[in-house]
């Protein structure tokens, strides 16, 4: 009866099944049970179940003082109980049994599904060995690590894996890896028609595969896994190093947001632009920056700015301070410059350096404070500067050499000339009228020529001395200098009856001797180039822009035609015949050189017949 009702059911089950009554006697069993225990059906029917499962089963069926059989059984239902089973030949093997009650008119029967768990046990033992072998290795890894067999079951893991996925070790062992990495991992372990598992795996080894991990609480998070094969007695296992890339993904997302927000701004700039966070890390850069430093932007994003500007550390602390300062005082202004025109060397990817000029500004964004770094390649400018400097140096040297040359030439020319002059004069003195008329004339020309040459050389020497023998510019009373010049000109003033007047004159920054000479030449000219009347000369002074005093020397003399205004300041330039006015034509050239040495300019305003006004500026004395 019972057989008829349950037989087919039992035979359909994949496990061994035995039906036991309340007394612990086997009342029914399936074919799998016969095979597993090595008995014929007839040998077991009616036998106590204790003969095949000696301990732990029959006891559970028996009512004791405190409960009836049904109650006892109910406690066991559905639970996998691990026990030892005994075959007919006396050998034992590990089993797991699942009990379920079957009620019928005779009372309660218990169906026991018996699973041979030898293989699992062995695997467990193996696992313990594996664990012992690899645990240290796994735990040393910074990432979560799981070792998976080809069935996709987790056989080994480390603490990081427990933490990352929120499971305990026991929960993870034996779990399908699909549970914690739903897609993209388990598939890779499976052989398909065209390749073996080993081949399939080989293709994935070492590659960072981005997948989604799932925690015990079902929340997902982005992971990157790296696979490597681990040969073992059970075939090839796969070790997966699992890295939580939440932060990286966030950063990437953040970057993408930032990019969309500031990219247009950055690309519009003519210079290389880098957005830097306050820790000196590169957040964003433009195309010009990529080109200039020869990096792809992905290579630079997240890297420190010193990758491309090695010396930037020298200002980072300062920048931080300025940021703090700027934020305190900032208020509403959105971009603030915190450093401009700072010169550094930029470093390209190939390690070559080039000069750059950097301007830093604060950019307050929703993501916090950033620093925009505008980088200008100043190679060309630097070259131009170097070239300019070199040219200037060459020019200075050549000017100096020229000055030296003029000085030495005129100084050394003076000696032989003094001989020529002295002896022609001596000749004239001793023999005038004692030879013939021609001799007297020849001697006169020689004397005149020597005299003129002496004047020229003296003037040339005086001119060259302005540059080569000048003194330091010191606070000097211009009034005293003028008084001194007037004293020096006393003879000429007396002869001409000139009236020289002046305003109160200030202290200036000047070479005193040169200032005296300047006044002496100008006042002297004013007296010299005079018509019939009494020379009237007035020296005045006004403040002018750029911390300078503007002096005027005004006369009522002959005046100068406008077309000569430039020319009169040239070397040896004369407007009059020698018979009219003596002189070498160097006086105003000396004036010009003196004024220029003092950083000023000299000019003239005049009308023929209406006098002239010479104007020049001198630097204010800083001592005032």
């Amino acid at each position: 009866m019972i057989e008829g009702r349950y037989r087919e059911l039992l035979e359909a089950a994949p496990d061994s099944m035995v039906l036991v009554n309340e007394s612990g006697q086997i009342v029914l069993l399936n074919h799998q049970a016969e095979k597993q225990f090595g008995y014929d059906r007839g040998e077991l029917l009616g036998q106590p179940v204790r003969s095949i499962i000696p301990v732990g089963f029959a006891e559970r069926l028996i009512a004791d003082g405190t409960r009836n059989a049904e109650q006892a059984l109910a406690q066991q239902i559905g639970t996998g109980i691990e026990l030892a089973a005994r075959r007919k030949d006396g050998s034992e093997f590990p089993i797991e049994i699942m009990l379920s009650p079957l009620k019928n008119d005779k009372g309660v029967l218990v169906a026991a599904a018996i699973r041979d768990i030898s293989v699992r046990r062995e695997a467990e033992i193996h696992l313990v060995q594996m664990e012992a072998r690899y645990r240290g290795l796994l735990e040393a890894a910074p990432d979560a690590m799981v070792v998976v067999n080809q069935g996709g079951e987790i056989v080994l893991l480390n603490v990081q894996a427990e933490k990352q996925f929120g499971y305990s070790r026991d929960e993870l062992l034996g779990l399908q890896v699909r549970t914690i990495i739903p897609e993209g991992f388990a598939e890779r372990l499976i052989t398909d028609g065209t390749r073996t598992a080993a081949e399939a795996l080989a293709q994935q080894i070492g590659t960072g595969i981005e997948l989604i991990g799932r925690r015990k609480d079902a929340s997902g998070f982005p992971i990157e896994i790296m696979l490597s094969p681990l040969p073992s007695a059970d075939g090839i296992l796969v070790t997966a190093a699992i890295r939580d890339i939440t932060e990286r993904k966030e950063a990437e997302k953040h970057l993408a947001q930032m990019e969309s927000r500031y990219r247009g701004l950055l690309e519009a700039a003519p210079d290389a632009m880098v957005l830097m966070n306050t820790d000196g890390g590169i957040v964003l850069l433009n195309l010009q920056a990529e080109k200039q430093f020869q990096y792809h932007r992905d290579e630079l994003a997240g890297r420190p700015l010193r990758t491309i500007i090695p010396e930037v550390w020298t200002i980072i602390a300062d920048v931080k301070q300025r940021i703090a300062g700027a934020l305190r005082s900032a208020g509403n202004s959105k971009a603030q410059e915190i450093g401009a025109g700072i010169e550094f060397n930029g470093r390209r990817k190939d390690n070559s350096d080039f000069p750059i000029e950097v301007t830093l500004s604060i950019l307050q964004t929703a993501e916090g404070v950033l620093v925009t770094v505008a980088i200008r390649d100043i190679t060309t400018r630097k070259k131009a500067e170097a070239q300019l400097l070199q040219t200037m140096q060459e020019l200075n040297r050549s000017n100096e050499e020229l000055g030296q040359f003029a000085y030495i030439a005129s100084h050394d020319l003076q000696e032989p000339l003094r001989m020529v002059a002295s002896y022609t004069q001596l000749l004239s003195k001793r023999y005038k009228g004692k030879l013939d008329g021609d001799a007297d004339q020849f001697i006169a020309f020689a004397v005149d020529g020597a005299n003129r040459m002496q004047l020229l050389i003296q003037d040339l020497l005086a001119y060259s001395r302005i540059g080569t023998k000048g003194s330091e510019l010191l606070t000097t009373s211009s009034e005293n200098a003028l008084e001194r010049a007037i004293v020096n000109l006393a003879g000429a003033i007396e002869d001409s009856g000139a009236l020289v007047t002046h305003d109160l004159l200030p202290s200036v920054l000047a070479d005193q001797r040169q200032l005296v000479q300047l006044f002496q030449n100008l006042v002297g000219n004013a007296i010299k180039y005079q018509g019939a009347g009494v020379p009237r000369i007035h020296v005045s002074c006004n403040r002018s822009a750029g911390a300078k005093w503007l002096f005027s020397v005004q006369d009522n003399g002959l005046g100068i035609e406008a077309k000569y205004f430039e020319r009169i300041f040239g070397m040896f330039q004369r407007l009059h015949k020698r018979e009219e006015f003596a002189g070498t034509g160097i006086g105003l050239a000396i004036c010009k050189k003196i004024v220029e040495r003092h950083g000023g300019e000299i000019s003239v305003e005049s009308q023929l017949g209406h006098g002239s006004t010479f104007r020049f500026a001198l630097p204010e004395s800083s001592a005032i």
Binding site: Q414, E415, M419, A421, Q425, N451, Q454
Partner: protein, 156 residues
């Protein structure tokens, strides 16, 4: 001509230390025009000058000069060194030593007075001015100024 220093017939010994023959002649002309009693001795370089002053070799009978006119730029031993040696010498240092040179460099002027030059004169370029300068040397140093050896000579 009579010496204007009052000692009739006594020549005035002047040593001119000058390497340029043109200058020597010019100075000679100017000095003799100023004072016929001047007996001019010439040394063409510093070594010759010191030999004359210390009466070395052929200078054994050289007179002690009343005045020395010393150029600065000289061959062998230059004027500054000659000046230093004269002023370092007990007997020579009392001889008035006048620097007569083309230089008007401040450094030369300062250095000469530091070395106890009695006077620093720059040769004027114009002949008339040079003659006038030489005349004033005569008028002051050889006429008006009382010099030690002249007093000495006057006593003997």
């Amino acid at each position: 001509m009579t010496s204007s220093n009052g000692v009739v017939g006594a020549p005035i010994e002047v040593l001119l230390v000058e390497d340029s023959p043109g200058d020597v002649r010019l100075t000679q002309e100017a000095l003799l025009e100023a004072n016929r009693a001047i007996h001019l001795h010439i040394a063409f370089d510093g070594v010759e000058a010191m030999a004359f002053l210390t009466r070395v070799g052929s200078n054994a009978r050289a007179p002690r000069p009343d005045l020395i006119l010393l150029d600065l730029n000289l061959p062998k031993m230059d004027g500054r060194e000659v000046l230093a040696q004269i002023k370092a010498d007990e007997t020579l240092r009392t001889i008035p030593t006048i620097i007569l040179t083309t230089s008007d460099a401040e450094a030369d002027i300062v250095k000469s007075y530091q070395l106890q030059a009695n006077c620093f004169l720059t040769k004027p370029v114009q002949l008339a001015a040079f003659e006038s300068l030489v005349k004033s040397i005569n008028d002051f140093w050889l006429t008006k100024a009382k010099l030690p050896h002249q007093a000495e000579r006057g006593l003997t």
